[in-house]
């Protein structure tokens, strides 16, 4: 049983590095804007389905992936605009957009799932060896995640990035300091869902197909990864806050893999993940500790 797990470690690592983008996409609005967003449940499949449709239609993988990312950013911005201008709670706005994205996915692909041959993918464009060698995938995705982390950290340290964090840290103070709160919420939601869509486009190009249901339950997985990461890395500084979702994602998917290898029924997984998130949310209230990992 443990052998199965150990054999799966590299594949799981590749998977977790891609889903790290989802955990990042949950962290950005939730932690740095203090506004929970669940558009990721729609922007990940949107990115995946857009990429699948565009690549199979003959577009080069760079442009296809780029357009998929832009589609995700647009979905996030629409959520933010619905929240800001129609005063719909951000969670409900996200559900609306994610639900509507489902129909867009079906329209874009014209079918519920679509095969994406390996030779059309970004990885194959870089080198045909990548999709055949799991170590190359690990190295490539590891480098990509590190590059995105470095970019995010640099962004959060710019004047605009700091202003975005001010919106999350004190929404009342932000306008008094000249920060246009609405603009920053739109930017933050767009950025987060662009990352989720990038994750979707990469999933499709590694597994070789897109499916409109690929986003189902992704939010809770990402949230669980974020919670685990913050428990380990902490979130006392912006560096820790940005690194935490990636660390959490890597550990969460290994834990899931370990569970499955030791006989856990895959159909019980969503219940257990949900229960885990619930316990971490409820624990500080039950034990009466004021400083919670999940506190707002």
């Amino acid at each position: 049983m443990i052998d199965t797990f150990i054999n799966l470690v590299p594949i799981t690592l590749v998977q977790s590095l891609i889903y790290a983008f989802v955990a990042l996409a949950i962290m950005i609005p939730y932690r740095t804007l203090a506004l929970p967003d669940l558009t990721v449940e729609g922007s990940l499949p949107l990115g995946g389905c857009m990429a699948a449709a565009l690549l199979t239609a003959g577009l080069d993988p760079w442009s296809g992936t780029a357009i998929a990312i832009l589609a995700g950013a647009a979905a996030g911005m629409v959520t933010a605009l619905i929240h800001l201008y129609f005063q719909v709670p951000s969670l409900l706005a996200g559900i609306l957009v994610a639900t509507m994205a489902w129909s867009v996915d079906l329209r874009v692909m014209a079918m519920p799932n679509k095969a994406v041959p390996a030779e059309l993918s970004l990885f194959d464009w870089l080198s045909p060896a990548i999709l055949l060698d799991i170590r190359l995938q690990m190295a490539l995705l590891g480098a990509l995640v590190c590059a995105v982390l470095a970019g995010l950290l640099a962004f959060y340290r710019t004047e605009i990035g700091l202003s975005l964090r001010c919106v999350g840290a004190n929404a009342r103070l932000a306008p008094a300091l000249g920060v246009n709160r609405r603009r920053y919420v739109v930017v933050g939601f767009g950025l987060a869902n662009a990352l989720a869509a990038l994750g979707g486009a990469l999933v499709v190009q590694t597994q070789g197909y897109a499916d409109v249901t690929m986003g189902f339950g992704i939010l809770v997985n990402g949230l669980a990864a974020l919670i685990i990461g913050e428990a380990i890395v902490g979130r006392s500084s912006i560096t820790r806050q940005v690194v935490a979702p990636v660390v959490g994602s890597v550990i969460y998917y290994q834990l899931v893999s370990l569970g499955l290898a030791t006989g856990l029924n895959p159909s019980d997984l969503k219940f257990l993940t949900g229960a885990f998130v619930l316990v971490t949310l409820a624990l500080p209230l039950i034990t009466g500790r004021s400083r919670s990992i999940v506190g707002t």
Partner: protein, 263 residues
């Protein structure tokens, strides 16, 4: 020069809880004037400050700052000219950010923002200088997260933030009321020092009559959404806390009020 004329603000218009918060306020404040705004609870002092800051939009009237009409200018744009310190120390600073990050945000209030690195050594030097004037040791704690500071330190930081670039109008909303008496004095003295040094045009809401008499160059008394007394520096001389309280009690006496207005 700040000129507010014919300001009116009604909350919850057309509902059972309708409230006329500002019922026609005309107020002209000359550059460099330090105006204390006093009055009972619900007199409209804080609402007036919120209207000037752009936090609320006014139903009627105009607000002009240095010749430009800002009546319809949103709060985040007006922030380039108007700085304010809230009563609640939690409100005036971003708790999860560090001292230097808070000051950088305040610096950008007037300067705008770009994709440049937010924290630079030039800025740190500048922050250290402006914080050392407060004599609270904050200049040694630039990297400290604000949530670990005391209420007084946070309010002193809010003061440094509001004045790091001199605003055209400084609004103080009972900014020392939530502090213990000693810290309150300390923050008040630092405020007066900075205001005098930079010659800032200041509006200070306060319940502390002694502060109003000692530090302000002019005292404006509000009641039921109106300015009911306007005491200039000449008339202020010789007035004591007792006299002010006296005027509070007799605020319904129309004759006395008319006399005050003419003065």
């Amino acid at each position: 020069m700040i000129a507010a004329s014919g300001l009116r603000k009604v909350f919850n218009l057309g509902t059972a809880t309708e409230l006329l918060a500002i019922a026609g306020v005309d107020l002209a404040v000359a550059a460099g004037e330090f105006v204390a705004v006093i009055g009972g609870n619900g007199a409209g002092k804080s609402t007036l400050l919120n209207l000037l800051a752009g936090d609320y939009s006014c139903d009627e009237g105009t607000i002009v700052i240095d010749g430009s009409d800002v009546t319809r200018t949103p709060e985040h744009v007006r922030a380039a000219w108007v700085a304010r310190i809230f009563q609640d120390p939690m409100l005036g600073t971003a708790a999860a950010l560090t001292v230097e990050e808070n000051l950088t945000l305040a610096l950008m209030r007037a300067q705008g923002r770009g994709l440049r690195p937010a924290l630079t050594s030039t800025r740190r030097t500048r922050f250290r200088e402006s914080l050392s004037g407060l004599r609270l040791g904050l200049e040694e704690r630039l990297g400290t997260v604000v949530s670990t500071l005391s209420g007084g330190q946070r309010q002193a930081l809010a003061l440094a933030m509001a004045t790091v670039t001199p605003p055209k109008l400084l609004l103080l909303d009972e900014h020392t009321a939530a502090l213990d008496p000693r810290t309150s004095e300390l923050v008040m003295e630092a405020t007066v020092g900075i205001v005098a040094k930079a010659g800032l045009t200041t509006l200070m809401v306060t319940h502390n009559m002694e502060h109003a008499l000692r530090f302000a160059s002019r005292i404006v008394m509000m009641d039921a959404g109106r300015i009911v007394a306007d005491i200039g520096s000449a008339e202020k001389i010789g007035l004591g806390v007792g006299d002010l309280i006296e005027r509070f009690r007799i605020r319904d006496d129309r004759i006395v009020l008319r006399q005050t207005r003419q003065a």
